[in-house]
């Protein structure tokens, strides 16, 4: 069963990688206007979620008219690749789900008892969040390239460097709080992952709109409008932040039962606090008119950086009570 899970994960990564490729094809062939128009058509087709009046249309203002027959051909390829990318993402997601389920059966427990499984689950939530988001707001499809890129990188690191054999839980983890606290932490992390991609792309799009022509900003040409991205970024974070808060509260309740105190500034606790404070700062900054929106978005990116330090830095380099990575 464990071997099946390992195989399935490889296929899932492959699925995401192919999806990434398809998103990239869409990205390359879709001219600015095409990406925006295809998206707009689907937006209308997806059930009448119309943009509020006053919100800028997703069409880039500088879009050249769609005239040449070559462009029409490109648009067809782009549309095809885009739909293919979604299908491939969904296939990758199913394989990912199967990998987690088989892992759980192999270990006879929830499949998030060590770092390898944790990251696998975080990526799964990230992929789920992305699929939900793109279904509800098809205009955001160009983000898929970057979401799958992050998924492939994280899962690749996970499978190659952090792989851990199936093992039972250490006694400290053997509690129903594992299901509550860790599940909440995974959910929040997975959603923050998508939030981070949206935040980073918002900044890229902002840079592009400001006329920056260096590398990361050139990617902005084919992204949805900055304010739509910015609003999406906020809404993703506004969803994940309470979940993260809940994860920390549950962690504190568990810590009281396991270690005798609800809060002890263990390195993992400290960094969870740091990330919480940064994300809280983001939500406040965004609600404050005197703080410019790109500054607020940078804060969201900083929050993800804290999450990554908490995941990799603390697990791998700093010993503490949360040392369950299972890597020695």
């Amino acid at each position: 069963m464990a071997a099946v899970s390992d195989q399935l994960l490889v296929y899932a990564i492959l699925g995401y990688a192919l999806a990434m490729l398809a998103y990239a094809v869409e990205y390359a062939f879709g001219s600015r206007s095409v990406v925006a128009r295809v998206a707009e058509r689907e937006l209308v087709g997806a059930g009448g979620r119309t943009a509020a009046p006053g919100a800028p249309a997703p069409v880039a203002p500088s879009a050249p008219p769609l005239a040449a027959p070559g462009l029409a051909e490109n648009a067809r390829i782009a549309g095809f690749a885009g739909r293919g990318a979604l299908v491939l993402t969904a296939v990758g997601w199913l394989l990912h789900l199967a990998a987690m389920v088989t892992r759980g059966f192999a270990a006879h427990r929830v499949p998030w008892g060590n770092m390898y499984e944790f990251i696998m689950a975080v990526c799964f939530v990230g992929a789920t969040a992305w699929l939900v988001l793109v279904t509800r707001r098809p205009v955001l499809r160009p983000l898929g390239l970057f979401v799958t890129l992050v998924l492939v990188i994280l899962l690749g690191i996970d499978g190659m460097l952090l792989y851990t054999k199936v093992a039972p839980l250490v006694p400290a983890l053997n509690s129903y709080w594992l299901k509550i606290h860790v599940t909440a932490a995974i959910t929040a992390s997975g959603v923050f992952l998508v939030g981070f991609v949206a935040a980073a792309l918002t900044l890229i799009r902002n840079g592009y709109d400001d006329g920056k022509t260096r590398f990361p900003y050139t990617l902005g040409a084919r992204l949805p409008a900055a304010d739509s991205l910015e609003r999406t970024t906020f809404r993703i974070h506004a969803f994940a932040f309470p979940v993260w808060t809940f994860a920390i509260i549950c962690g504190a309740i568990w810590a009281e039962a396991a270690w005798g105190r609800y809060w002890g500034w263990d390195p993992k606790e400290t960094w969870s606090f740091v990330a919480w404070v940064i994300y809280a700062g983001y939500l406040h900054a965004r609600a404050t008119p005197s703080v410019r929106r790109p500054v607020a978005t940078w804060i969201a990116v900083a929050g993800w950086a804290a999450m990554m330090v908490n995941l990799f830095g603390i697990n791998l380099f700093i010993a503490g009570l949360h040392s369950y990575a299972g890597l020695n």
Binding site: F246, I249, R261, V277, A287
Partner: protein, 525 residues
């Protein structure tokens, strides 16, 4: 938080009047305004996040004293400097406290006026319709509302009330009516609840540090090895600043049984400690303490935090007197290679003449206990007792216990050995299996009877916990309400004659706002 809520700005300062006192007042006022501004609060929030980071990178005294000592050894020059700025006690350092206290002062300074204006908003009726409804983000003209304007207004108010809007009808001088409705006050309520909950957390933490305590104790299995909850009986303790020795819950506890299960890899699978305890003069009760499952008394909780082995030695001295001592050995690794010392301070006392203070013939055995020996190395290969060996060196002389200086019970007093007052006996250590005996050079005998398990227990009491827990749930609820709530206003204007119109305004972002408005307009027609 999703609304564009700027912190309320206080009224502008009165025109400056001459005089130093007025200048000071103005300065104070400016400082207060600066401190309670959102920008300052954000900066403090970030300082707090940054200030917490060294606490995770440097070893902390409250987490691991050993690591702090190791850091001193590794960085003899840097460590004292770091220590001076609180580097090893980050979360108790003045600068960390300063940041969060300023943040909380700023929070209070912001919350109080905000609470006041929210209460006012809750009491106030929704304001009258603006004169130009078509200037609002959502509006509808030429509504087909037929009938007497007063009746139409009453009907609209009923529809809005059904949708849980707070609605009011106002008669206009021109004979028409306006209906004003507002909804979503919960958002600000949630926002305030969230922030007040943060204050509750701080109060709970403070209560815990004043009235709580923590104490550690190693307890060896057996009725003769129990302890009571008094400070003298603890290896280590920390009392809150307002806790006296008499405030400890009066319980006594003995370890009746301890079981540890291990996987074949040596990974622990399960621990359980069976204990018997009494509280005050109550009847004895039994309980099982497990990892994640402490013993909860009314005013104390007892946690299982570690376990190990305590070798039992029986020593027969030169006067034929036999004593049995059990001494917990401290484990050095995950496989429970343990080190310690078994001391017999009352050995070799002449029954007739008593102890000669200048030639104490006290005896001790210091060394290692290896629960599973591989036969050659002095390191255990498995945490359970599969092939136990006790490797100890006998010592004789003055153990130095009578000097009244507190010393470790896990090691011999090195000073006594260095000064020759405590000497090694024999040329090499004794290797004893359970049941084995050995004879020393003076004809006395020692027998390794076996081992008893010991557990490290931590006793804790934190009365602030309930406040913190309540605060945390309020925080959670407040957060959810403030993030999902949407404050919006809707107005209808029904002129004395002619078509009615409507308009709506949302405070902050609310993507479904237009849809809701359109829906409402459709429903009333």
């Amino acid at each position: 938080m999703s609304t564009v809520d700027e912190r309320p700005v206080e009224a502008a300062a009165p025109p400056p009047t001459p005089g130093p006192a007025a200048g000071l007042v103005a300065l104070g006022r400016r400082a207060w305004r600066w401190l309670t501004s959102m920008r300052t609060a954000l900066i403090l929030l970030f300082l707090l996040a940054v200030a917490a980071i060294p606490g995770s990178l440097l070893p902390q005294r409250n987490l691991n004293l050993e690591k702090v000592r190791a850091y001193y050894t590794a960085h003899p020059k840097l460590a004292p400097l770091l220590d001076r700025v609180g580097g090893f006690d980050v979360f108790a350092s003045p600068w960390f406290s300063a940041i969060y206290l300023l943040l909380f002062v700023s929070l209070v300074g912001c919350l109080v006026p905000r609470l006041r204006s929210h209460v006012v908003a809750l009491l106030r009726v929704p304001p009258d319709a603006p004169s130009r409804l078509d200037r609002l983000p959502a509006h509808a003209d030429g509504l087909a509302l037929h009938g007497d304007p007063a009746e139409v207004a009453a009907r609209l108010r009923a529809v809005l009330r059904r949708r849980r809007f707070r609605a009011v009808v106002r008669a206009q001088p021109d004979g028409g009516f306006t209906v004003s409705a507002e909804k979503g006050y919960l958002k600000e309520s949630g926002n305030l609840l969230f922030h007040f909950a943060l204050l509750a957390l701080l109060i709970g933490v403070a209560l815990g540090s004043w009235y709580g305590y923590k104490a550690d104790r190693v307890v060896v299995q057996g009725a003769d090895q129990g302890f009571c909850n008094t400070l003298q009986q603890y290896d280590d303790y920390g009392l809150g600043s307002r806790v006296g020795p008499a405030d400890l819950e009066p319980f006594c506890l003995t370890l009746t049984d301890f079981q540890a299960r291990f996987l074949d890899t040596g990974e622990p699978a399960d621990y359980r400690a069976a204990v018997s305890y009494t509280v005050g003069s109550g009847a004895p009760a039994d309980a099982v303490i497990k990892v994640n499952d402490p013993l909860r008394l009314d005013r104390a909780r007892i946690y299982l935090v570690g376990h190990g082995y305590a070798p039992v030695l029986r020593y027969t001295d030169r006067y034929g007197k036999t004593q049995t001592i059990v001494a917990p050995f401290l484990y050095l690794d995950a496989n429970k290679t343990s080190s310690g010392v078994v001391q017999f301070p009352d050995a070799n006392v002449d029954p007739v003449k008593g102890r000669d203070p200048n030639d104490k013939q006290q005896v001790a055995f210091a060394g290692m206990y290896i629960p599973t020996s591989d036969g050659t190395h002095a390191v255990s290969v498995f945490p359970a007792e599969r092939n136990p060996v006790l490797v100890v060196t006998p010592y004789r002389g003055d153990l130095g216990l009578d000097a009244g200086i507190p010393s470790s019970v896990y090691t011999l007093d090195q000073h006594q050995i260095d000064t020759g007052r405590l000497r090694e006996v024999g040329s090499e250590p004794l290797r004893l299996k359970p049941g084995d005996s050995a004879r020393l050079d003076d004809g006395t005998t020692v027998q390794f009877v076996g081992t008893r398990p010991w557990t490290a227990l931590t006793v804790r009491y934190d009365p602030g916990e309930k406040v913190v827990l309540g605060g945390a749930w309020c925080l959670m609820i407040g957060l959810l309400v403030s993030l999902t709530g949407r404050r919006r206003r809707i107005w209808f204007r029904i002129p004395a004659s002619g078509p009615a119109c409507a308009g709506a305004l949302s405070r902050g972002e609310y993507p479904g706002f237009t849809a809701e408005f359109d829906n409402l307009v459709k429903e009333v027609q």
